[in-house]
């Protein structure tokens, strides 16, 4: 997936490597382990739903979808091109399998809540997942949803925070600190689980535990590193929204392959 992310961003000449590489294991854990879905039937009514609220991280989702078989891997190279189904930020009307159109931060958790309410009202078994960026939850709407999902007893809703500590203007702690983060979500009546967001052995049990929740939504704080897997990008804010050039692409892919980080 990481190689695909680097390749498609290089080809597109723009995009967000930092926040796509930080959520790679989270997205992989969902698409290749935890979620019940069928790439051949993206409209299967009982599928689990996944909303990527941090829309700029969508290259990680496109990579997972392509490797899962939603569309040919070759199509990844159309990212951000005119007429493409792979828009710079996800567009559910263009690409089957994308559940929500996001990119204006702070809106996805509300949409995911609506999807979870729909499963509850229609007594359908699907689970709804929502991936949030850390800077994103500075948006007030996220806290409106944080307040309402426990009211509706949405045990079928799991939000995952990609806590990579970086946003465009700097470190999250400097721009607008989220701490004490776990305490805040607990105070809002969520189950809170903290994990290393790059370790499947952490992520998968956490997601399995979240799935068993009955009357409370779950908030998984996934501690991650921006630009994970490419040493010259790791922890560097300047790689938030800049694509690698050809030389950087070669170096990045060489490093990813050498490390065997094949997720």
């Amino acid at each position: 997936m990481r190689v695909s992310i680097i390749e498609m961003l290089t080809e597109a000449k723009s995009g967000h490597p930092g926040g796509s590489l930080s959520c790679t294991e989270i997205v992989a854990a969902l698409y290749f382990s935890e979620m019940r879905h069928d790439p051949q039937r993206p409209d299967w009514s009982e599928r689990d739903r996944f909303v990527i609220s941090k829309g700029h991280g969508v290259p990680a989702v496109y990579a997972a979808m392509a490797h899962a078989g939603y569309f040919p891997v070759q199509e990844l190279m159309t990212l951000r091109k005119t007429g493409a189904r792979l828009q710079g930020h996800p567009d559910r009307r263009r690409l089957p399998g994308i559940e929500a159109s996001t990119g204006s931060l702070g809106q996805g958790l509300s949409v995911a809540q609506g999807i979870a309410l729909a499963s509850k009202l229609s007594a359908k078994p699907w689970h709804t997942y929502c991936l949030l960026g850390d800077g994103e939850i500075q948006e007030g709407q996220v806290w409106e949803a944080a307040m309402s999902a426990p009211k509706f007893k949405l045990g079928s809703l799991t939000a995952i925070l990609d806590y990579n500590h970086g946003q465009i203007d700097g470190r999250v702690d400097d721009v607008m600190s989220l701490e004490p983060l776990a305490d805040k979500w607990r105070a809002f009546n969520w189950n809170v689980i903290e994990v290393d967001g790059h370790k499947f052995e952490d992520l998968i049990p956490a997601l399995q535990k979240a799935r068993k929740a009955t009357d409370k939504p779950t908030f998984v704080i996934a501690h991650t590193i921006k630009g994970k897997g490419v040493s010259f990008m790791e922890g560097k804010i300047e790689w938030h929204g800049v694509a690698p050039n050809k030389d950087q692409e070669t170096a990045a892919i060489k490093e990813i392959n050498a490390k065997g980080v094949r997720s």
Partner: protein, 316 residues
């Protein structure tokens, strides 16, 4: 005019028909943001508590949540004052319109017609905001019958929609034969000799009906049409009316920027012709507290002021 109907606020008619439709349409769900008593969604809430969601004073979250439900096949109506709900423009832009979520956004308390509460509660730019969004259907009924037909129409309409409703009572202007047709202009009074045609929408339709009566007594003939669809508005209907008249006058309880007046201006500016357009409405200034009737006078959209404007045009 129908004799068996009494004046009624379009929000009241909305609340009543919504509660009726809930029986037949089991995929109808309703959201409110702590204004259910005012938007009249409480009638549905009482009858169908399992399909009513009280979201508290948090409109942005209400919009997104409804969008998520719409994507799963439900038909959500979300209710608030027009100013508050369209004030969360970005959520409607992204989570509803761009996402193709068939949410029905209900904005009550349209315009200066709400009176006492003053500017902060008045929807005055809501049509302008909603009209700017691709795929959005924008509607405004002028009496009880039209409200009922519009809401029923929206149960199966395949697009997101905004409906603008009044706090104040409106007289019935339609008889039982009336059928709302999306996009079409509804001609209420026609005259082959008229030089002025008035296009009105929502609460100002009744003002124009009164103005028509006064002018008729003075021996002045005018054409009067109700425009219930602000978008998509049928150009041919507008151009047909424009063709036969020297003056087109739009009258609305909304800013003159961005509402019906602008929609008509956009249509007639695309063609050359001698018809001149005059737009009446709240003209680039804020609303204020007061008696509705006095405010309609102040902003030039009462029957008396409409008569004055028409007479002025004919004498010019």
């Amino acid at each position: 005019m129908s004799s068996n109907q009494k004046p009624k606020a379009t929000r009241q008619a909305f609340g009543e028909v919504l509660a009726e439709l809930g029986t037949k349409h089991t995929n109808l769900v309703v959201f409110d943001a702590d204004l259910a008593k005012s938007t009249k969604s409480e009638m549905f809430a009482k009858k169908f508590p399992d399909r009513f969601y009280e979201m508290g004073i948090a409109e942005a979250n209400m919009i997104g949540t409804a969008a998520g439900m719409a994507m799963q096949g439900f038909v959500p109506f979300i209710c608030s004052f027009g100013c508050f709900v369209t004030g969360r423009f970005d959520q409607i832009r992204m989570s509803v319109a761009y996402a193709g979520a068939n949410v029905r956004v209900i904005g009550t308390h349209a315009g200066v017609g709400i009176g006492d509460d003053g500017h902060s509660q008045m929807g005055l730019e809501d049509l302008s905001l909603m009209r700017g969004l691709p795929t959005m259907t924008v509607l405004q009924p002028c009496d009880e019958l039209e409200t009922r037909q519009m809401i029923e129409f929206l149960m199966t309409h395949d697009a997101p929609a905004y409906v603008r409703l009044t706090r104040q009572n409106l007289i019935p202007v339609h008889d039982g034969e009336y059928r709302f047709r999306l996009g079409r202009v509804d001609v209420l009074r026609e005259s082959a000799t008229a030089n002025v045609a008035i296009l009105a929408t929502g609460a100002t339709v009744q003002e124009c009906v009164r103005a028509h009566e006064i002018l008729q007594k003075q021996g002045v003939q005018i054409t009067l049409a109700n425009v219930p669809t602000i978008k998509p508005l049928n150009s041919d209907d507008i151009l047909d009316i424009a063709k036969g008249h020297r003056w087109l006058l739009t009258v609305e309880d909304h800013y003159t920027i961005g509402g019906l007046g602008s929609a008509v201006a956009e249509i007639i500016s695309d063609r050359s012709g001698p018809t001149r357009l005059v737009r009446l409405g709240v003209n680039d200034q804020f609303g204020e507290s007061g008696e509705p009737i006095e405010l309609y006078d102040k902003f030039g959209i009462s029957a008396a002021k409409i008569v004055q404007t028409v007479s002025g045009l004919l004498n010019s």
